[in-house]
Symmetry: C2
Subunit: 226 residues, 2 copies
DNA sequence: GAGCATAGTCCCACATGATGAGACTCTGGC
DNA sequence: GCCAGAGTCTCATCATGTGGGACTATGCTC
């Protein structure tokens, strides 16, 4: 795997250690293999990261991501101001399509609605801000697992989360390709049809791209999979 | 502010940089002041961290926590297996008190229920796993803001989240004192009274301590505020 | 219980990578 | 147009990180 090289070699190595344990906790030997570093170096870096709470030992003594990363991850999400930054694009999407629009972010194995704008139609989908929904139902949920990489830039679902409701979603990605949010349009099948992506997909993808642009510089100058 | 010193000075400095931007984004000058590092050093470390996605520039060019931290924070939360590890303690608490018990974690400015065990009583509070609730109502919400440090080890609330419902919560902390979850007992005021902490507080605090113990080595050997 | 392989930890001579003062360019305020 | 201070970059210096190997601990096999 390609590794980012910067002007500070120790940080490069430390980043490799953090990346190595992201998938699953590793003992020292496995961490050596995963990072390609000599044992003494691996040990010294891991213990230093542990000292700062960036790694921890699980009950089996293996190295795992540390709890400081939870707090720092929260700080990163907070600093993004995603709901505020995304709102204009979702308003335009609501006005353009006439349907309810939402923005979801992933939290653990669920998704949380962080922006919700309702359609003027009498019959409309209503998702309150703060609503917690599963990942395995609805177009936004599928996107937020990161397992989909839609070639058209959007995915649709029909009747998955709720009978009679269809939705289209597009991913908001960081510069390194990670899905950080999903923009959605949703409405009754009777009005938006069984293939809402055909009609609304491009507009949803455009809104997601606008959110990405509005976020400005997001994440590193590192390798991008976009 | 005291800084952790380990065997790798560059990681010590990088951790200071990450800590400095946790509260709010900082430009280079402010980051110098916050970390006490010379400008060239600060710049070089910040750009290297940015290269790995651990920092990013916000639209004003200030350094902020990077999006890799969101993914790593998720990995840290996942590796903890908190719901599974906490379940036995919550079962014992439910059996001991006869009331519904829950475990909440913080997500942004809300809290999510990750374990929910219901009382055998016909009249009982029901919070589904996955429920997303605000932080400003209910004992668990107050705890998860991190602003409370209850001397008795628990806090109670009455009728805040829902009329007729009272609750007691105790914090689950990492070794460095951060609140990572809240253990709660909740039930109708008519049965558990207007001061449920008097009756159930010690048991809730004990359950939280059991969860902490069950987590084993959690976070660093760094300075503890406990 | 002995033997062995491999885990984790630590030491230290040495090579090299990080340091930081200062030079340089850019930008915004006056 | 001037200036202060932002951000970026260079490079001589030396302090630090490196990594081979020694050591201890642990778990497994016989």
């Amino acid at each position: 795997m390609e590794h980012t090289v910067t002007a500070v070699g120790v940080i490069d190595k430390a980043a490799r250690v953090l990346a190595a344990v992201e998938e699953r906790p590793l003992d020292l030997a496995a961490l050596m293999v995963a990072t390609g570093l000599p044992r003494a170096t691996t040990h010294r870096l891991a213990v230093s990261l542990e000292g700062h709470g960036l790694l921890r030992r699980d009950p089996e003594g293996r190295f795992a991501p540390g709890l400081r990363l939870i707090a720092l991850g929260r700080a990163a999400a907070r600093a993004l101001h995603l709901p505020e930054v995304a709102r204009p694009a979702l308003e335009a999407l609501r006005d353009d399509t006439g349907e309810s629009t939402q923005l979801y972010v992933r939290e653990g194995d669920r998704r949380i609605c962080v922006v919700s704008l309702e359609s003027p139609h009498g019959l409309r989908t209503i998702v309150p801000v703060g609503a917690s929904l599963p990942l395995d139902a609805g177009s936004a949920g599928h996107l937020l697992t990161g397992a989909l990489d839609p070639t058209d830039g959007w995915v649709e679902s029909v009747g998955e989360r709720e009978p009679g409701v269809a939705s289209v979603s597009a991913p908001v990605r960081s510069d390194d390709g990670q899905v950080i949010a999903a923009v959605s349009v949703s409405g009754p099948i009777d009005r938006i049809g069984a293939h809402p992506g055909t009609t609304h997909g491009p507009a949803v993808a455009t809104a997601a791209a606008r959110v990405e642009a509005a976020l400005g510089r997001v994440s590193s100058d590192g390798p991008s999979s976009l």
